[in-house]
């Protein structure tokens, strides 16, 4: 019978055994182990003749089959306890085969579902094109056509003007501001940062800030904040009053 078994690709020893059982139309609960073992080994030999590698799992199964076969040939071991039933040495293998057979059937079902599912298509344009576009609930807000007109009119009027002459900012210099801070602090235990900034233009705020930093560097004042987010106090250390 040797070469009758086609060289098929089997997933593993269980797959091969199930195929042999199916081909021989054998009742899985009553496997003729001797015959099946013979066919199983023939398949392995045929693989060997073709120089095909036989994986370890096939060899382990061969050993298992031979062991079951020899146990079936031996007279049953004397039963030690009366109620202990003799277990069929094939039972474990049969259970494994049935379990594998079940999953093999499920995988056929899955393959079918898989190829059917391939026939439907989801929306082609995903997140990047559609979903992540921000939604502007109110893209225009309160802006009216009149606003647009007024803005445009103002911009155009401005743009039509001659290149503006840079006006000289009426700013004060850093030394000047430092001097003023010194004066402001005469006779005061402290002034707050806010006091120094009162009624300042943004430019003056910057100059004041730089002046404070410079005075701190010179060791003339200390800047203290007694609590987080509280007022910033500026306290004199040693004032050198220079009046300009």
């Amino acid at each position: 019978m040797g070469y009758l078994i086609q060289l098929e690709a089997y997933e593993g020893p269980f797959d091969l055994l199930l195929d042999l059982i199916a081909k021989n139309e054998i009742d899985i609960w009553d496997i003729p182990i001797a015959a099946i073992t013979e066919q199983y080994l023939e398949y392995l030999f045929s693989l060997q003749e073709q120089d095909l590698a036989i994986t370890g799992e096939f060899l382990v199964m061969a050993a298992t089959l031979i062991r079951i076969k020899s146990r079936l040939l031996l007279p049953p071991e004397p039963v030690e306890e009366e109620f202990e039933e003799e277990v069929d040495p094939r039972l474990e293998l049969v259970e494994q085969l049935l379990r594998y057979k079940f999953f093999k059937e499920v995988s056929v079902f899955l393959q079918e579902r898989y190829s059917n599912a391939a026939k439907v298509f989801t929306r082609g344009q995903m997140a990047a094109q559609l979903d992540m576009t921000p939604i502007f609930t109110d893209p225009v807000g309160d802006v009216t056509v009149t606003d647009l007109k007024n803005l445009y009119s103002a911009l155009i009027t401005e743009a039509e003007k001659e290149e503006p002459v840079h006006s000289v900012p009426s700013s004060i210099s850093l030394p000047e501001r430092m001097a003023r801070i010194r004066v402001q602090m005469v006779g005061q235990p402290r002034v707050t940062f806010q006091d120094l900034l009162r009624d300042s233009t943004p430019e003056e705020i910057v100059v004041t800030f730089l002046a404070i930093l410079e005075l701190v560097r010179l060791g003339e004042i200390a800047v203290v904040q007694h609590e987080s987010l509280g007022p910033i106090d500026i306290e004199p250390f040693a004032l050198e009053v220079e009046v300009q």
Partner: protein
């Protein structure tokens, strides 16, 4: 293929295409001419009238999207929602585009006196302006103009309805 079959196939193609699909592309697949495809798309649009979906034209192609009025619901699915008002920079830029379109970014910047790229981008995001093509000038700069949405939001039918009172001639 009957017209009814073609309608279903075309609907499926628009839905499944990874880019807005043009009537030409559809025509090649279903072997129909562009005008036949366009009229079939109109049939799909009619069928969609009662539902949540809409076939819109983007860049010469069709795209299935949900109707704009569903936005407040769909936003709940995790799409970013922005209801920040237009910035002054964006509003100025929009005013210039509305009155001067087609206009390049450089021309906008010349009037505003400041860089305007982020303002232009935010107006594009809000779909208030769009690219109209390129100017025949060195560097072939992009020309911008206002969109359909702009007219809708400002309740205008055309640019001619923009008020002109008090605007001095610039061009």
């Amino acid at each position: 293929m009957t017209i009814q079959e073609a309608e279903i196939i075309i609907e499926g193609l628009i839905f499944a295409a990874e880019h807005p699909i043009t009537p030409q592309e559809i025509g090649e697949i279903v072997e129909l001419d562009v005008s036949a495809v366009e009229s079939i798309v109109e049939n799909v649009r009619k069928r969609y009238a009662t539902g949540a979906l809409l076939i819109r034209n983007v860049g010469g192609g069709y795209q299935v999207v949900t109707k704009p009025e569903l936005a407040p619901w769909i936003e709940k699915l995790g799409r970013p929602i922005i209801n920040a008002p237009l910035s002054v920079a964006a509003t100025e830029t929009l005013a210039i585009i509305a009155y001067q379109q087609p206009v390049t970014r450089a021309e906008i910047e010349q009037i505003r006196g400041v860089r305007s790229d982020s303002a232009v981008n935010s107006l594009i995001e809000r779909e208030l302006i769009c690219e109209l093509g390129r100017k025949n000038a060195p560097g072939r700069p992009i020309l911008y103009g206002v969109t359909e949405k702009f007219f809708q939001h400002f309740g205008l039918r055309s640019l001619e309805e923009l008020p002109l009172q008090g605007i001095s001639e610039w061009k």
